[in-house]
Assembly symmetry: C2
Homo-oligomer: 313 residues x 2
Protein backbone atom coordinates (compact mmCIF):
# COMPACT_ATOMS: atom_id res chain seq x y z
CA UNK A 1 0.00 0.00 0.00
CA UNK A 2 1.42 3.43 -0.88
CA UNK A 3 0.82 6.44 1.32
CA UNK A 4 -1.54 7.90 -1.25
CA UNK A 5 -4.08 5.11 -0.79
CA UNK A 6 -4.24 5.48 3.02
CA UNK A 7 -7.45 6.81 4.46
CA UNK A 8 -7.67 9.57 7.06
CA UNK A 9 -8.04 8.35 10.64
CA UNK A 10 -9.12 4.95 9.47
CA UNK A 11 -8.18 2.81 12.42
CA UNK A 12 -8.61 -0.41 10.51
CA UNK A 13 -6.19 0.53 7.76
CA UNK A 14 -3.64 2.23 10.02
CA UNK A 15 -0.34 0.35 10.21
CA UNK A 16 1.14 2.76 12.77
CA UNK A 17 3.73 3.98 10.23
CA UNK A 18 2.85 7.68 10.20
CA UNK A 19 6.02 8.44 8.26
CA UNK A 20 4.57 6.84 5.13
CA UNK A 21 1.02 8.16 5.61
CA UNK A 22 -0.04 11.26 3.70
CA UNK A 23 -2.84 12.08 6.13
CA UNK A 24 -0.89 11.85 9.38
CA UNK A 25 -1.05 15.63 9.82
CA UNK A 26 -4.78 15.52 10.52
CA UNK A 27 -4.69 12.27 12.48
CA UNK A 28 -5.48 12.13 16.18
CA UNK A 29 -4.93 8.41 16.74
CA UNK A 30 -3.03 7.43 19.92
CA UNK A 31 -0.75 5.41 17.74
CA UNK A 32 0.48 8.62 16.14
CA UNK A 33 1.80 9.92 19.44
CA UNK A 34 3.42 6.59 20.15
CA UNK A 35 4.98 6.53 16.67
CA UNK A 36 6.39 10.00 17.15
CA UNK A 37 7.88 9.02 20.52
CA UNK A 38 9.50 5.97 18.97
CA UNK A 39 10.92 8.07 16.13
CA UNK A 40 12.34 10.59 18.59
CA UNK A 41 13.94 7.76 20.57
CA UNK A 42 15.41 6.19 17.43
CA UNK A 43 16.81 9.53 16.28
CA UNK A 44 18.27 10.25 19.70
CA UNK A 45 19.91 6.81 19.92
CA UNK A 46 21.18 6.87 16.32
CA UNK A 47 23.41 9.81 17.23
CA UNK A 48 25.14 7.88 20.03
CA UNK A 49 27.87 5.54 18.78
CA UNK A 50 28.21 3.28 21.82
CA UNK A 51 25.76 2.50 24.60
CA UNK A 52 27.05 0.64 27.63
CA UNK A 53 24.99 -0.26 30.70
CA UNK A 54 26.58 -0.82 34.09
CA UNK A 55 24.58 -3.34 36.10
CA UNK A 56 24.88 -5.38 39.29
CA UNK A 57 22.92 -7.97 41.15
CA UNK A 58 23.21 -6.45 44.62
CA UNK A 59 23.18 -2.77 45.47
CA UNK A 60 26.04 -0.89 47.06
CA UNK A 61 28.78 -2.67 45.14
CA UNK A 62 30.06 0.58 43.62
CA UNK A 63 28.20 0.57 40.33
CA UNK A 64 27.82 4.35 40.25
CA UNK A 65 31.48 4.85 41.19
CA UNK A 66 32.51 2.59 38.30
CA UNK A 67 30.13 4.43 35.92
CA UNK A 68 31.37 7.90 36.92
CA UNK A 69 35.01 6.92 36.62
CA UNK A 70 34.47 5.10 33.32
CA UNK A 71 32.93 8.28 31.91
CA UNK A 72 35.90 10.36 33.13
CA UNK A 73 38.42 7.83 31.81
CA UNK A 74 36.92 7.81 28.32
CA UNK A 75 36.53 11.59 28.32
CA UNK A 76 40.22 11.98 29.19
CA UNK A 77 41.27 9.53 26.53
CA UNK A 78 40.28 11.42 23.42
CA UNK A 79 36.52 11.75 23.93
CA UNK A 80 36.17 15.17 25.55
CA UNK A 81 32.62 16.55 25.01
CA UNK A 82 31.59 13.20 23.53
CA UNK A 83 30.49 11.33 26.66
CA UNK A 84 27.05 11.02 28.20
CA UNK A 85 25.94 9.46 31.49
CA UNK A 86 22.34 8.41 32.09
CA UNK A 87 21.65 7.82 35.77
CA UNK A 88 18.75 5.39 35.50
CA UNK A 89 18.48 4.84 39.24
CA UNK A 90 15.16 6.58 39.84
CA UNK A 91 14.99 5.99 43.62
CA UNK A 92 18.60 6.56 44.61
CA UNK A 93 20.40 8.67 41.99
CA UNK A 94 24.08 9.13 42.97
CA UNK A 95 25.81 10.16 39.76
CA UNK A 96 25.34 13.95 40.14
CA UNK A 97 26.96 13.92 43.58
CA UNK A 98 29.85 11.79 42.30
CA UNK A 99 30.47 14.03 39.29
CA UNK A 100 30.31 17.23 41.30
CA UNK A 101 26.99 18.31 39.80
CA UNK A 102 24.74 18.41 42.89
CA UNK A 103 22.20 21.21 42.81
CA UNK A 104 22.07 21.48 39.01
CA UNK A 105 18.76 21.12 37.17
CA UNK A 106 17.68 19.99 33.72
CA UNK A 107 16.80 23.02 31.63
CA UNK A 108 13.90 22.83 29.20
CA UNK A 109 14.06 23.97 25.60
CA UNK A 110 11.54 24.44 22.78
CA UNK A 111 9.16 21.58 21.96
CA UNK A 112 9.44 19.96 25.37
CA UNK A 113 13.10 19.10 24.87
CA UNK A 114 15.45 18.92 27.85
CA UNK A 115 19.14 19.80 27.95
CA UNK A 116 21.46 17.56 29.94
CA UNK A 117 23.66 19.07 32.64
CA UNK A 118 27.26 19.36 31.43
CA UNK A 119 30.09 18.56 33.83
CA UNK A 120 33.89 18.35 33.69
CA UNK A 121 35.43 17.40 30.33
CA UNK A 122 32.09 18.13 28.72
CA UNK A 123 30.39 15.04 30.16
CA UNK A 124 26.62 15.30 29.65
CA UNK A 125 24.59 13.97 32.56
CA UNK A 126 20.89 13.24 33.05
CA UNK A 127 19.54 12.07 36.39
CA UNK A 128 16.33 12.03 38.39
CA UNK A 129 18.31 14.05 40.91
CA UNK A 130 18.21 17.03 38.53
CA UNK A 131 14.41 17.16 38.58
CA UNK A 132 13.83 16.63 42.32
CA UNK A 133 13.29 19.66 44.55
CA UNK A 134 15.76 18.45 47.23
CA UNK A 135 17.60 15.43 48.66
CA UNK A 136 14.75 14.57 51.00
CA UNK A 137 12.21 14.02 48.20
CA UNK A 138 11.73 10.31 47.57
CA UNK A 139 10.39 9.07 44.26
CA UNK A 140 7.55 6.82 45.38
CA UNK A 141 6.71 5.44 41.96
CA UNK A 142 5.56 2.11 40.72
CA UNK A 143 6.98 0.53 37.57
CA UNK A 144 5.05 2.10 34.67
CA UNK A 145 5.91 5.66 35.76
CA UNK A 146 9.58 4.73 36.01
CA UNK A 147 9.50 3.26 32.49
CA UNK A 148 8.04 6.52 31.23
CA UNK A 149 10.69 8.63 32.98
CA UNK A 150 13.52 6.56 31.55
CA UNK A 151 12.02 6.72 28.07
CA UNK A 152 11.86 10.51 28.32
CA UNK A 153 15.44 10.70 29.57
CA UNK A 154 16.43 8.97 26.35
CA UNK A 155 14.06 10.47 23.78
CA UNK A 156 13.31 13.98 25.06
CA UNK A 157 16.85 14.91 26.05
CA UNK A 158 19.07 16.57 23.46
CA UNK A 159 22.04 14.30 24.01
CA UNK A 160 23.40 15.31 20.62
CA UNK A 161 26.29 13.45 18.94
CA UNK A 162 28.05 11.24 21.49
CA UNK A 163 30.80 8.65 21.25
CA UNK A 164 29.71 6.88 24.43
CA UNK A 165 26.65 6.80 26.66
CA UNK A 166 27.16 5.07 30.00
CA UNK A 167 23.97 4.02 31.73
CA UNK A 168 23.99 3.49 35.49
CA UNK A 169 21.20 1.06 36.28
CA UNK A 170 19.77 0.41 39.74
CA UNK A 171 20.48 -3.01 41.26
CA UNK A 172 18.29 -5.95 40.36
CA UNK A 173 16.40 -7.12 37.36
CA UNK A 174 13.19 -5.14 37.77
CA UNK A 175 11.39 -2.43 35.89
CA UNK A 176 14.27 -0.01 35.25
CA UNK A 177 16.65 -2.66 33.92
CA UNK A 178 13.96 -4.23 31.75
CA UNK A 179 12.93 -0.84 30.38
CA UNK A 180 16.46 0.16 29.42
CA UNK A 181 17.14 -3.13 27.65
CA UNK A 182 13.90 -2.87 25.70
CA UNK A 183 14.36 0.80 24.83
CA UNK A 184 17.95 0.36 23.58
CA UNK A 185 17.94 -2.72 21.37
CA UNK A 186 21.45 -1.97 20.01
CA UNK A 187 23.18 -1.83 23.40
CA UNK A 188 26.90 -2.59 22.89
CA UNK A 189 27.01 -4.53 26.12
CA UNK A 190 26.84 -4.53 29.89
CA UNK A 191 29.56 -4.25 32.50
CA UNK A 192 28.60 -6.22 35.61
CA UNK A 193 29.94 -4.94 38.93
CA UNK A 194 30.10 -7.16 41.99
CA UNK A 195 31.67 -7.47 45.42
CA UNK A 196 33.77 -10.52 46.32
CA UNK A 197 31.50 -11.82 49.11
CA UNK A 198 29.61 -15.05 48.53
CA UNK A 199 26.36 -13.27 49.31
CA UNK A 200 27.06 -10.92 46.39
CA UNK A 201 28.10 -13.77 44.13
CA UNK A 202 24.76 -15.49 44.54
CA UNK A 203 23.03 -12.31 43.36
CA UNK A 204 25.43 -11.39 40.55
CA UNK A 205 24.75 -14.72 38.86
CA UNK A 206 21.21 -13.47 38.36
CA UNK A 207 22.54 -10.36 36.60
CA UNK A 208 24.57 -12.57 34.25
CA UNK A 209 21.52 -14.69 33.41
CA UNK A 210 19.44 -11.52 33.00
CA UNK A 211 21.87 -10.14 30.39
CA UNK A 212 22.00 -13.50 28.60
CA UNK A 213 18.21 -13.77 28.50
CA UNK A 214 17.96 -10.20 27.21
CA UNK A 215 20.56 -11.16 24.55
CA UNK A 216 22.82 -8.24 25.52
CA UNK A 217 26.56 -8.92 25.17
CA UNK A 218 28.39 -9.12 28.52
CA UNK A 219 31.57 -7.01 28.30
CA UNK A 220 32.73 -8.50 31.56
CA UNK A 221 32.66 -8.61 35.35
CA UNK A 222 34.40 -6.09 37.63
CA UNK A 223 35.11 -7.08 41.24
CA UNK A 224 34.95 -3.96 43.38
CA UNK A 225 35.99 -3.56 47.05
CA UNK A 226 38.44 -6.39 46.54
CA UNK A 227 40.77 -6.57 49.53
CA UNK A 228 42.16 -3.74 51.62
CA UNK A 229 45.70 -2.70 52.39
CA UNK A 230 46.10 -0.84 55.70
CA UNK A 231 47.65 2.54 54.91
CA UNK A 232 49.48 2.49 58.27
CA UNK A 233 51.11 -0.93 58.38
CA UNK A 234 50.58 -2.34 54.89
CA UNK A 235 48.69 -5.39 56.19
CA UNK A 236 46.32 -6.92 53.64
CA UNK A 237 42.83 -7.42 55.09
CA UNK A 238 40.12 -9.04 53.00
CA UNK A 239 37.19 -7.11 54.47
CA UNK A 240 34.72 -8.50 51.95
CA UNK A 241 36.97 -11.39 50.87
CA UNK A 242 38.55 -11.55 47.37
CA UNK A 243 38.29 -13.61 44.19
CA UNK A 244 34.52 -13.98 44.04
CA UNK A 245 34.18 -11.97 40.84
CA UNK A 246 36.74 -14.05 38.97
CA UNK A 247 35.14 -17.26 40.19
CA UNK A 248 31.76 -16.18 38.86
CA UNK A 249 33.26 -15.05 35.54
CA UNK A 250 34.92 -18.44 35.06
CA UNK A 251 31.87 -20.37 36.19
CA UNK A 252 29.57 -18.45 33.87
CA UNK A 253 32.06 -18.26 30.95
CA UNK A 254 32.01 -14.48 30.99
CA UNK A 255 35.11 -12.21 30.59
CA UNK A 256 36.73 -11.01 33.81
CA UNK A 257 37.75 -7.36 33.62
CA UNK A 258 39.64 -6.99 36.89
CA UNK A 259 39.37 -6.17 40.57
CA UNK A 260 39.48 -2.79 42.30
CA UNK A 261 40.86 -2.80 45.85
CA UNK A 262 39.16 -0.93 48.70
CA UNK A 263 40.63 2.56 49.03
CA UNK A 264 39.24 5.18 51.46
CA UNK A 265 40.06 7.90 48.92
CA UNK A 266 37.47 6.43 46.52
CA UNK A 267 34.70 7.19 49.03
CA UNK A 268 36.17 10.62 49.81
CA UNK A 269 36.48 11.54 46.14
CA UNK A 270 32.94 10.33 45.35
CA UNK A 271 31.60 12.42 48.22
CA UNK A 272 33.47 15.43 46.91
CA UNK A 273 32.37 15.01 43.31
CA UNK A 274 35.83 14.04 42.11
CA UNK A 275 36.97 11.09 39.99
CA UNK A 276 39.42 8.99 42.00
CA UNK A 277 41.25 7.97 38.84
CA UNK A 278 42.21 11.63 38.34
CA UNK A 279 42.80 12.52 41.98
CA UNK A 280 44.85 9.44 42.86
CA UNK A 281 46.82 8.67 39.73
CA UNK A 282 49.35 6.38 41.39
CA UNK A 283 47.00 4.38 43.62
CA UNK A 284 46.48 0.64 43.18
CA UNK A 285 42.78 1.28 42.59
CA UNK A 286 43.53 3.65 39.69
CA UNK A 287 45.97 1.17 38.17
CA UNK A 288 43.37 -1.58 38.39
CA UNK A 289 40.73 0.69 36.93
CA UNK A 290 42.97 1.70 34.01
CA UNK A 291 43.36 -1.97 33.09
CA UNK A 292 39.59 -2.41 33.18
CA UNK A 293 39.09 0.61 30.90
CA UNK A 294 41.60 -0.85 28.43
CA UNK A 295 39.68 -4.12 28.29
CA UNK A 296 36.36 -2.36 27.72
CA UNK A 297 37.96 -0.25 24.99
CA UNK A 298 39.29 -3.41 23.38
CA UNK A 299 35.88 -5.05 23.50
CA UNK A 300 34.32 -2.06 21.74
CA UNK A 301 37.09 -1.93 19.11
CA UNK A 302 36.54 -5.59 18.35
CA UNK A 303 32.80 -4.97 17.99
CA UNK A 304 33.54 -1.99 15.76
CA UNK A 305 35.87 -3.91 13.46
CA UNK A 306 33.38 -6.77 13.48
CA UNK A 307 30.70 -4.28 12.43
CA UNK A 308 32.92 -2.95 9.65
CA UNK A 309 33.58 -6.46 8.43
CA UNK A 310 29.86 -7.20 8.48
CA UNK A 311 29.19 -4.07 6.42
CA UNK A 312 31.98 -4.90 3.92
CA UNK A 313 30.64 -8.42 3.31
CA UNK B 1 -28.94 -4.25 55.78
CA UNK B 2 -28.86 -7.71 57.39
CA UNK B 3 -27.34 -10.66 55.59
CA UNK B 4 -30.79 -12.19 55.09
CA UNK B 5 -31.88 -9.40 52.75
CA UNK B 6 -28.86 -9.73 50.43
CA UNK B 7 -29.47 -11.15 47.00
CA UNK B 8 -27.42 -13.89 45.33
CA UNK B 9 -24.78 -12.62 42.89
CA UNK B 10 -26.45 -9.26 42.69
CA UNK B 11 -23.54 -7.06 41.69
CA UNK B 12 -25.42 -3.87 42.42
CA UNK B 13 -26.23 -4.77 46.01
CA UNK B 14 -22.86 -6.37 46.78
CA UNK B 15 -20.86 -4.41 49.34
CA UNK B 16 -17.85 -6.75 49.14
CA UNK B 17 -18.43 -7.93 52.71
CA UNK B 18 -18.88 -11.64 52.04
CA UNK B 19 -18.61 -12.36 55.75
CA UNK B 20 -22.06 -10.86 56.35
CA UNK B 21 -23.68 -12.25 53.18
CA UNK B 22 -25.78 -15.40 53.47
CA UNK B 23 -25.38 -16.25 49.80
CA UNK B 24 -21.61 -15.91 49.48
CA UNK B 25 -21.25 -19.70 49.14
CA UNK B 26 -22.81 -19.67 45.69
CA UNK B 27 -21.21 -16.37 44.60
CA UNK B 28 -18.63 -16.19 41.83
CA UNK B 29 -17.95 -12.45 41.92
CA UNK B 30 -14.27 -11.38 41.65
CA UNK B 31 -14.80 -9.35 44.76
CA UNK B 32 -15.36 -12.53 46.70
CA UNK B 33 -11.86 -13.76 45.90
CA UNK B 34 -10.40 -10.40 46.80
CA UNK B 35 -12.36 -10.33 50.05
CA UNK B 36 -11.12 -13.78 50.97
CA UNK B 37 -7.51 -12.76 50.25
CA UNK B 38 -7.89 -9.70 52.45
CA UNK B 39 -9.39 -11.78 55.25
CA UNK B 40 -6.54 -14.27 55.02
CA UNK B 41 -4.01 -11.43 55.18
CA UNK B 42 -5.76 -9.85 58.19
CA UNK B 43 -5.88 -13.18 60.01
CA UNK B 44 -2.23 -13.88 59.25
CA UNK B 45 -1.12 -10.45 60.44
CA UNK B 46 -3.33 -10.50 63.54
CA UNK B 47 -1.32 -13.42 64.86
CA UNK B 48 1.97 -11.48 64.66
CA UNK B 49 2.51 -9.13 67.61
CA UNK B 50 5.18 -6.86 66.15
CA UNK B 51 6.05 -6.10 62.53
CA UNK B 52 9.27 -4.22 61.84
CA UNK B 53 10.60 -3.34 58.40
CA UNK B 54 14.29 -2.75 57.75
CA UNK B 55 14.77 -0.23 54.96
CA UNK B 56 17.54 1.81 53.37
CA UNK B 57 17.94 4.40 50.69
CA UNK B 58 20.94 2.89 48.94
CA UNK B 59 21.63 -0.78 48.43
CA UNK B 60 24.59 -2.65 49.86
CA UNK B 61 24.59 -0.88 53.20
CA UNK B 62 24.09 -4.12 55.14
CA UNK B 63 20.32 -4.13 55.50
CA UNK B 64 20.06 -7.90 55.24
CA UNK B 65 22.93 -8.39 57.70
CA UNK B 66 21.14 -6.14 60.18
CA UNK B 67 17.84 -7.99 59.62
CA UNK B 68 19.38 -11.44 60.06
CA UNK B 69 21.22 -10.45 63.22
CA UNK B 70 18.19 -8.64 64.67
CA UNK B 71 16.18 -11.82 64.22
CA UNK B 72 18.88 -13.89 65.95
CA UNK B 73 19.24 -11.35 68.78
CA UNK B 74 15.51 -11.35 69.55
CA UNK B 75 15.30 -15.13 69.24
CA UNK B 76 18.13 -15.52 71.77
CA UNK B 77 16.56 -13.06 74.17
CA UNK B 78 13.43 -14.96 75.12
CA UNK B 79 11.69 -15.29 71.76
CA UNK B 80 12.85 -18.72 70.53
CA UNK B 81 10.38 -20.12 67.95
CA UNK B 82 8.55 -16.77 67.94
CA UNK B 83 10.49 -14.90 65.24
CA UNK B 84 9.76 -14.60 61.53
CA UNK B 85 11.81 -13.03 58.73
CA UNK B 86 10.24 -12.02 55.45
CA UNK B 87 12.86 -11.41 52.78
CA UNK B 88 10.95 -8.99 50.54
CA UNK B 89 13.86 -8.44 48.16
CA UNK B 90 12.46 -10.17 45.10
CA UNK B 91 15.45 -9.58 42.81
CA UNK B 92 18.33 -10.14 45.20
CA UNK B 93 17.24 -12.24 48.17
CA UNK B 94 20.15 -12.69 50.62
CA UNK B 95 18.51 -13.72 53.89
CA UNK B 96 18.56 -17.51 53.29
CA UNK B 97 22.32 -17.47 52.64
CA UNK B 98 22.93 -15.33 55.74
CA UNK B 99 20.81 -17.56 57.99
CA UNK B 100 22.39 -20.76 56.68
CA UNK B 101 19.26 -21.87 54.85
CA UNK B 102 20.49 -21.96 51.23
CA UNK B 103 18.98 -24.77 49.18
CA UNK B 104 15.80 -25.05 51.27
CA UNK B 105 12.40 -24.71 49.61
CA UNK B 106 8.96 -23.60 50.70
CA UNK B 107 6.75 -26.64 51.20
CA UNK B 108 3.10 -26.46 50.21
CA UNK B 109 0.25 -27.61 52.40
CA UNK B 110 -3.50 -28.09 51.98
CA UNK B 111 -5.56 -25.25 50.49
CA UNK B 112 -2.59 -23.63 48.77
CA UNK B 113 -0.93 -22.75 52.05
CA UNK B 114 2.86 -22.55 52.26
CA UNK B 115 5.07 -23.42 55.21
CA UNK B 116 8.02 -21.15 55.99
CA UNK B 117 11.49 -22.65 56.23
CA UNK B 118 12.58 -22.94 59.86
CA UNK B 119 16.16 -22.12 60.82
CA UNK B 120 18.23 -21.89 64.00
CA UNK B 121 16.35 -20.95 67.19
CA UNK B 122 13.11 -21.70 65.38
CA UNK B 123 13.31 -18.60 63.16
CA UNK B 124 10.72 -18.89 60.37
CA UNK B 125 11.93 -17.55 57.03
CA UNK B 126 10.21 -16.84 53.72
CA UNK B 127 12.17 -15.66 50.68
CA UNK B 128 11.97 -15.64 46.91
CA UNK B 129 15.18 -17.63 47.08
CA UNK B 130 13.18 -20.62 48.38
CA UNK B 131 11.04 -20.77 45.25
CA UNK B 132 13.76 -20.22 42.61
CA UNK B 133 15.29 -23.24 40.89
CA UNK B 134 18.90 -22.01 41.36
CA UNK B 135 21.11 -18.99 42.05
CA UNK B 136 21.38 -18.12 38.37
CA UNK B 137 17.64 -17.60 37.90
CA UNK B 138 16.82 -13.89 37.86
CA UNK B 139 13.33 -12.67 38.67
CA UNK B 140 12.61 -10.41 35.69
CA UNK B 141 9.33 -9.05 36.97
CA UNK B 142 7.64 -5.74 36.74
CA UNK B 143 5.87 -4.16 39.72
CA UNK B 144 2.39 -5.74 39.81
CA UNK B 145 3.78 -9.29 39.89
CA UNK B 146 6.09 -8.36 42.75
CA UNK B 147 3.18 -6.90 44.70
CA UNK B 148 1.31 -10.17 44.24
CA UNK B 149 4.27 -12.26 45.40
CA UNK B 150 4.73 -10.19 48.55
CA UNK B 151 1.02 -10.37 49.31
CA UNK B 152 1.14 -14.15 49.04
CA UNK B 153 4.22 -14.33 51.25
CA UNK B 154 2.14 -12.61 53.92
CA UNK B 155 -1.31 -14.12 53.45
CA UNK B 156 -0.67 -17.63 52.11
CA UNK B 157 2.18 -18.53 54.44
CA UNK B 158 1.34 -20.20 57.74
CA UNK B 159 3.48 -17.92 59.87
CA UNK B 160 1.49 -18.93 62.92
CA UNK B 161 1.76 -17.05 66.23
CA UNK B 162 4.84 -14.82 66.22
CA UNK B 163 6.23 -12.23 68.60
CA UNK B 164 8.19 -10.45 65.87
CA UNK B 165 8.25 -10.38 62.09
CA UNK B 166 11.29 -8.65 60.59
CA UNK B 167 10.87 -7.60 56.98
CA UNK B 168 13.96 -7.07 54.84
CA UNK B 169 12.98 -4.65 52.09
CA UNK B 170 14.99 -4.00 48.93
CA UNK B 171 16.64 -0.56 48.64
CA UNK B 172 14.63 2.36 47.34
CA UNK B 173 11.08 3.53 47.53
CA UNK B 174 9.59 1.53 44.68
CA UNK B 175 7.02 -1.20 44.29
CA UNK B 176 8.15 -3.60 47.01
CA UNK B 177 8.42 -0.94 49.72
CA UNK B 178 5.10 0.60 48.77
CA UNK B 179 3.39 -2.79 48.72
CA UNK B 180 4.65 -3.78 52.15
CA UNK B 181 3.57 -0.49 53.72
CA UNK B 182 0.12 -0.78 52.18
CA UNK B 183 -0.31 -4.45 53.06
CA UNK B 184 0.73 -3.99 56.72
CA UNK B 185 -1.11 -0.91 57.97
CA UNK B 186 -0.21 -1.65 61.63
CA UNK B 187 3.56 -1.78 61.11
CA UNK B 188 5.29 -1.01 64.44
CA UNK B 189 7.99 0.95 62.66
CA UNK B 190 10.98 0.94 60.37
CA UNK B 191 14.69 0.68 61.11
CA UNK B 192 16.67 2.66 58.53
CA UNK B 193 20.16 1.38 57.72
CA UNK B 194 22.75 3.61 56.08
CA UNK B 195 26.47 3.96 55.40
CA UNK B 196 28.40 7.00 56.60
CA UNK B 197 29.37 8.30 53.14
CA UNK B 198 27.78 11.53 51.93
CA UNK B 199 26.56 9.74 48.82
CA UNK B 200 24.59 7.37 51.07
CA UNK B 201 23.33 10.22 53.22
CA UNK B 202 21.74 11.93 50.25
CA UNK B 203 19.80 8.76 49.51
CA UNK B 204 18.88 7.83 53.09
CA UNK B 205 17.09 11.16 53.50
CA UNK B 206 14.65 9.89 50.89
CA UNK B 207 13.98 6.79 52.99
CA UNK B 208 13.22 9.00 55.99
CA UNK B 209 10.77 11.10 53.97
CA UNK B 210 9.25 7.93 52.51
CA UNK B 211 8.51 6.55 55.99
CA UNK B 212 7.11 9.90 57.13
CA UNK B 213 4.86 10.16 54.08
CA UNK B 214 3.65 6.60 54.62
CA UNK B 215 2.99 7.55 58.28
CA UNK B 216 5.07 4.64 59.57
CA UNK B 217 6.94 5.33 62.84
CA UNK B 218 10.73 5.53 62.41
CA UNK B 219 12.37 3.45 65.14
CA UNK B 220 15.72 4.94 64.23
CA UNK B 221 18.78 5.06 61.99
CA UNK B 222 21.66 2.56 62.11
CA UNK B 223 25.01 3.55 60.62
CA UNK B 224 26.69 0.43 59.26
CA UNK B 225 30.29 0.04 58.00
CA UNK B 226 31.28 2.89 60.30
CA UNK B 227 35.06 3.08 60.48
CA UNK B 228 37.58 0.25 60.42
CA UNK B 229 40.25 -0.79 62.88
CA UNK B 230 43.18 -2.64 61.30
CA UNK B 231 43.44 -6.03 63.02
CA UNK B 232 47.24 -5.97 62.58
CA UNK B 233 48.26 -2.55 63.86
CA UNK B 234 45.10 -1.14 65.43
CA UNK B 235 45.06 1.92 63.14
CA UNK B 236 41.62 3.43 62.66
CA UNK B 237 40.79 3.93 58.97
CA UNK B 238 37.53 5.55 57.94
CA UNK B 239 37.04 3.61 54.72
CA UNK B 240 33.55 4.98 54.14
CA UNK B 241 33.96 7.87 56.62
CA UNK B 242 31.99 8.05 59.91
CA UNK B 243 29.24 10.10 61.52
CA UNK B 244 26.95 10.47 58.51
CA UNK B 245 24.13 8.46 60.08
CA UNK B 246 24.07 10.53 63.26
CA UNK B 247 24.13 13.74 61.23
CA UNK B 248 21.11 12.64 59.23
CA UNK B 249 19.26 11.51 62.36
CA UNK B 250 19.80 14.90 64.00
CA UNK B 251 18.97 16.83 60.85
CA UNK B 252 15.76 14.90 60.30
CA UNK B 253 14.80 14.71 64.01
CA UNK B 254 14.81 10.93 63.96
CA UNK B 255 16.27 8.67 66.73
CA UNK B 256 19.85 7.48 66.20
CA UNK B 257 20.29 3.83 67.15
CA UNK B 258 24.06 3.48 66.82
CA UNK B 259 26.92 2.65 64.49
CA UNK B 260 28.40 -0.73 63.59
CA UNK B 261 32.11 -0.71 62.69
CA UNK B 262 33.47 -2.59 59.66
CA UNK B 263 34.61 -6.06 60.67
CA UNK B 264 35.79 -8.68 58.14
CA UNK B 265 34.19 -11.39 60.29
CA UNK B 266 30.73 -9.93 59.54
CA UNK B 267 31.19 -10.70 55.85
CA UNK B 268 32.69 -14.12 56.60
CA UNK B 269 29.87 -15.05 58.96
CA UNK B 270 27.19 -13.85 56.53
CA UNK B 271 28.77 -15.94 53.79
CA UNK B 272 28.78 -18.95 56.07
CA UNK B 273 25.20 -18.53 57.25
CA UNK B 274 26.21 -17.55 60.76
CA UNK B 275 25.10 -14.61 62.90
CA UNK B 276 28.16 -12.48 63.75
CA UNK B 277 26.61 -11.47 67.06
CA UNK B 278 26.78 -15.12 68.13
CA UNK B 279 30.10 -16.01 66.53
CA UNK B 280 31.99 -12.92 67.70
CA UNK B 281 30.55 -12.17 71.11
CA UNK B 282 33.36 -9.85 72.22
CA UNK B 283 33.83 -7.86 69.01
CA UNK B 284 33.17 -4.12 68.83
CA UNK B 285 30.55 -4.76 66.15
CA UNK B 286 28.62 -7.14 68.42
CA UNK B 287 28.77 -4.67 71.29
CA UNK B 288 27.44 -1.92 69.03
CA UNK B 289 24.73 -4.20 67.71
CA UNK B 290 23.64 -5.21 71.23
CA UNK B 291 23.09 -1.54 72.08
CA UNK B 292 21.00 -1.11 68.93
CA UNK B 293 18.86 -4.13 69.82
CA UNK B 294 18.27 -2.67 73.29
CA UNK B 295 17.04 0.59 71.79
CA UNK B 296 14.68 -1.18 69.41
CA UNK B 297 13.37 -3.29 72.29
CA UNK B 298 12.81 -0.11 74.30
CA UNK B 299 10.93 1.50 71.44
CA UNK B 300 8.62 -1.50 71.19
CA UNK B 301 8.05 -1.63 74.95
CA UNK B 302 7.09 2.03 74.91
CA UNK B 303 4.65 1.39 72.08
CA UNK B 304 3.28 -1.61 73.98
CA UNK B 305 2.73 0.34 77.21
CA UNK B 306 1.28 3.17 75.16
CA UNK B 307 -1.10 0.64 73.57
CA UNK B 308 -2.08 -0.71 76.98
CA UNK B 309 -2.76 2.80 78.25
CA UNK B 310 -4.86 3.50 75.19
CA UNK B 311 -6.89 0.35 75.81
CA UNK B 312 -7.33 1.12 79.54
CA UNK B 313 -8.67 4.63 78.84
Amino acid sequence: MTSATKKVNNAEECDGECGSCSTSDSCSDNRKQQYEQEQKLKLSLSRIKHKIAIISGKGGVGKSTVTANLAMAFAMNGHKDEIGVLDADIHGPCIPKMLGLKGQTLVGGPGGLLFPVTGKLGIKVVSMDFVLPNDEAPVIWRGPLKMRAIQQFLSDVTWGELDYLFIDLPPGTGDESLSIMQLIPDMDGVVIVTMPSEVSQAVVKKAVTFAKQMKVPIIGIVENMSGFVCPECGAKVDIFRTGGGKKIAEGQSVPYLGSIPIDPSICNDSDNGLAFIIENKTSLATKAFTEIVKKIDQFLENTDSHHHKEIKK
